[in-house]
């Protein structure tokens, strides 16, 4: 089988300079520190999407681009799938909304990327958090269907009992732990 990529030559963006958290003169170490936009962004931005890319190559038999280096997994931030502005956090209401942008309009891996984001947040945020994950409006051909699937918890639960899918999600997320 010829392997290739659905988006063989993605535009790769520079990583943004990190804001340095302001050091306070007096730090109350017992104070509850609320979760903010930057924290959620940090959780998600390093997630890798090499695996979905490779899988989509195999599935769609797209010719391999000579420029693509499979040794170098691009992060969601570098591909601008996730930007800090697209994350809405309300710590008081325990609410996070992530709007992500698939790299191409017909990206068949949008649901897998969304599932990875959901799993990553499920494992990283306190369980009180409500998480909504959406495709940025106008960036995907089957936007409504992808959104509905990603936010149906019964479908997500069933998907996460599928060992192949869990392996794939774990592989996408593995380099982000530790």
């Amino acid at each position: 089988m010829v392997s290739g990529l659905i988006n063989a030559n993605p535009v790769v963006y520079e990583k943004k300079e990190r804001r340095v958290r302001s050091a306070l003169d007096y730090v109350d170490e017992y104070a509850v520190e609320p979760i903010d936009q930057q924290e959620v962004f940090d959780i998600l931005s390093s997630s890798l999407i090499l695996m979905p890319f490779i899988l989509s190559c195999i599935k769609f038999e797209v010719p391999l681009s000579p420029c693509f280096d499979p040794e170098h997994p691009y992060s969601l931030e570098e591909l601008k799938v996730i930007t800090e502005d697209a994350i809405e956090v309300n710590d008081e209401c325990s609410y996070v909304r992530v709007t992500f942008t698939p790299t191409v309009e017909h990206c068949s891996m949008a649901t897998v990327i969304g599932l990875c984001l959901r799993v990553k947040l499920m494992r990283s945020l306190p369980s009180r958090y409500k998480v909504d994950i959406r495709v940025a409006p106008g960036t995907h051909a089957t936007e409504a269907a992808v959104n509905k699937q990603l936010n149906d918890k019964e479908r997500v639960a069933a998907a996460l009992e599928n060992p192949n899918l869990v392996d794939m999600v774990d592989e996408c997320l593995a380099p982000t732990y530790g």
Partner: protein, 350 residues
């Protein structure tokens, strides 16, 4: 029908039942318990692949787990339902099977396993007589099984029509009519005009174009008379439906269901569960961790009955409320199951 004053009602937590190690998806009260000196029993099923049987007993009248039914389902147990005789418990699982458990002197034995669905079974329901069982699945189909002697189950028909996974099946409380609701946003009504035949067909589809829901329909429930039905959805509304069931019971053919009102503006996240008590109180459980109770309002408009919220229990659980069930005997007792892995028993007090 009893009307409720605007007095102060309170949902008082009696006990929190802990034991499941994953989310609790569904609850079912055993209808033959809690009367004639038989202690009340409730079954719960969970993402931890087990079913637990809880009983209220002992001098303290506290709830305890009497049995854990495990090693039968290989995946999440999504749905559980007692037969009306209280002897059999049906459980549907993401492993694509439905198990039938029989209570033999306090022990629960798996007496039958129903196979046929292609993938996740999402809901199971017994008919009033207990001689038929309905199941539904992500494979978009609804199966009707006939109960034969010797714990044998035979598939009578496979109902195709939904275009997406079927979230719940429910029998009408008085007639052999099956209702199914789906990820395709519709409710379908299935009926066999000739009771002896197996010619089941879809006689009504309630969709957005006829005042139905605009997103996944998660559950539905009937009032005690069976002439009204309530449905709940991912579109954040509850809808009340009505049909002339008396005409239908007298053999005058199918009576269609029509929309009588929509309760919107109460929930701000998906409503997963709805249950109508024998006293006329509608309970709803949602992804906003709250339980709400609704009753028919006294100030009927000319347009027909209207409904109002009796109370809202915020933070009923730490996470999503997946199931709310009124006790069929003690009408003020409500049970709820949640993503937080616990079950709570509540008493409605005024």
């Amino acid at each position: 029908m009893e009307f409720f004053d605007d007095g102060d009602y309170e949902l008082r937590e009696i006990q929190k039942l802990e034991g499941h190690t994953d989310r609790v998806w569904c609850l079912s009260w055993n209808p033959k318990t809690g009367i004639n000196g038989v202690p009340p029993i409730i079954a719960s099923c969970s993402g931890d692949k087990t079913i637990r049987i809880w009983e209220q007993s002992g001098p303290s009248q506290s709830w305890r787990c009497k049995a854990v039914l495990e090693e039968t389902h290989a995946r999440t147990v999504r749905s559980c339902a007692w037969s009306l005789c209280g002897k059999f418990l049906a459980t549907g699982s993401f492993d694509a099977t439905t198990a039938i458990w029989e209570n033999v002197g306090g022990d629960y034995e798996c007496v039958s396993t129903l196979e046929g669905h292609e993938n996740e079974v999402k809901s199971v329901s017994w008919n009033e007589c207990g001689n038929m069982l309905a199941t539904c699945s992500r494979d978009k189909s609804v199966w009707i099984w006939e109960v034969l002697p010797g714990n044998e189950f035979e598939c009578v028909t496979v109902l195709q029509g939904h275009t997406q996974d079927v979230k719940m099946v429910q029998w009408h409380p008085r007639m052999d009519i099956v209702f199914s609701c789906s990820y395709d946003n519709t409710i379908k009504v299935w009926w066999s005009e000739d009771a002896e035949s197996e010619n089941w067909e879809c006689c009504q589809t309630i969709g957005e174009s006829n005042n139905g829901h605009s997103s996944t329909v998660w559950a539905l429930s009937f009032n005690v008379e069976g002439d009204k039905m309530v449905s709940c959805s991912d579109d954040l509304t509850l809808k009340i439906w009505e049909a002339n069931t008396l005409r239908m019971e007298s053999g005058d053919g199918y009576a269609p269901w029509s929309h009588i009102c929509t309760l919107s503006g109460y929930h701000d996240r998906t409503i997963f569960s709805v249950h109508w008590s024998r006293e006329g109180i509608i309970a709803s459980g949602a992804a906003d961790d709250a339980i709400r109770l609704f009753v028919e309002s006294k100030d009927d408009s000319i347009d027909g009955p209207s409904y109002k919220m009796l109370l809202k229990k915020e933070k009923a659980h730490d996470m999503d409320v997946n199931s709310v069930q009124w006790n069929p005997v003690d009408h003020h007792l409500l049970a709820s199951g949640s993503d937080d892995g616990t079950i709570k028993i509540w008493e409605l007090a005024s």
